[in-house]
């Protein structure tokens, strides 16, 4: 595990969050959400700070982080692309859209492009089935995406 150094200001911010939840280990998931918000992802060092603050074993924290698909230990791309793989979207061809993204960015699902700009991941149902197939880039939601549209979606963020 390459040792990385954490920015002190961010660590301080994280400690504030733990304080807000008065160091209750039952709030581990809320703290991890906040931590991922602050650092963008959850490297081992961040998990160790959380474990220390909430007085929980680091193995337990890692067990929780690796259980939930929302937490990630590798930084997401600047523009995280998620393709909804819910049934409605699958039935309307989401798989072909996902393959197109993988082909154009030459990454596998869950990976980030070498330049760190894009990461492609499949997402659990976002609940906008009326717009199936749905693709989200960061907060922005794209509806009724066809494989042909993938090029111009990416173009928006070039």
């Amino acid at each position: 595990m390459a040792e990385i150094k954490l920015a002190e200001s961010k660590v301080q911010e994280l400690k504030e969050v733990c304080k807000k939840f008065n160091y209750d280990k039952g709030e581990l998931i809320n703290v991890l959400h906040a931590a991922q918000g602050i650092f963008g992802y959850l490297p081992a060092e961040v998990q160790e700070v959380v474990a220390d603050q909430l007085n929980v074993n680091i193995a337990h924290v890692y067990g929780v982080v690796t259980f939930y698909s929302f937490f990630t230990m590798t930084p997401k791309g600047k523009h995280p692309i998620s393709i909804c793989m819910g049934t409605a979207c699958y039935v309307r061809g989401a798989e072909k859209v996902l393959d197109e993204f993988k082909r154009l960015l030459d990454v596998k699902v869950g990976e980030t492009t070498p330049d760190g700009k894009f990461s492609v991941s499949s997402l659990r149902c976002v609940g906008a089935c009326g717009l199936a197939p749905v693709v989200t880039v960061g907060e922005k939601v794209y509806g009724r995406v066809a494989p042909e549209d993938v090029k111009d979606i990416l173009a928006e963020y070039k």
Binding site: G127, L131, Y142, G143
Partner: protein, 136 residues
């Protein structure tokens, strides 16, 4: 917002609010008080409901039409998002689908000001207990 201390406070508040709302509906200058509800659920916003709503507010202001544009939840017509409900007093509320800024402009000119309907009306296919009541 004053605290609601007792149940009667709540009832008093409800009646007040209800009359204010119906006032809005049955006010004496019908062509003025128009009520527009924009469906701002996730898919509505994703299909551009925010732009539509801002456009409506701005455009109705420019044309000095006394209207109230509020946001609301999902009306269920996912196939035609963004959807808005236009309620010109004295007429039945009408739901429109695929309302982008261009369509919104057409609705303002023809429906709100002109009083005629515009293509793309979505027939309401459900009733709610409240309606059953005031219909009985």
């Amino acid at each position: 917002m004053t605290k609601v201390k007792t149940l009667d406070d709540l009832k008093k508040m409800r009646n007040e609010l209800q009359s204010k709302l119906t006032l809005r509906e049955k006010s004496d200058h019908p062509e003025k008080m128009v009520q527009i509800k924009v469906s701002m659920a996730t898919c509505g916003i994703a299909s551009g409901a925010k732009e539509t709503m801002n456009y409506l507010i701005e455009e109705l202001d420019n044309r000095a039409v006394d209207a109230v544009v509020t946001q609301t939840g999902c009306m269920g017509y996912c196939h035609s998002e963004p959807t808005i409900e236009v309620h010109v007093p004295g007429t039945e509320p009408v739901v429109y689908g695929h309302v982008d800024t261009k369509k919104a402009e057409e609705i303002i000119t023809k429906h709100i000001i002109g009083g005629e309907l515009v293509d793309g009306v979505i027939p309401v296919s459900y009733t709610t207990p409240n309606e059953d009541e005031n219909e009985k």
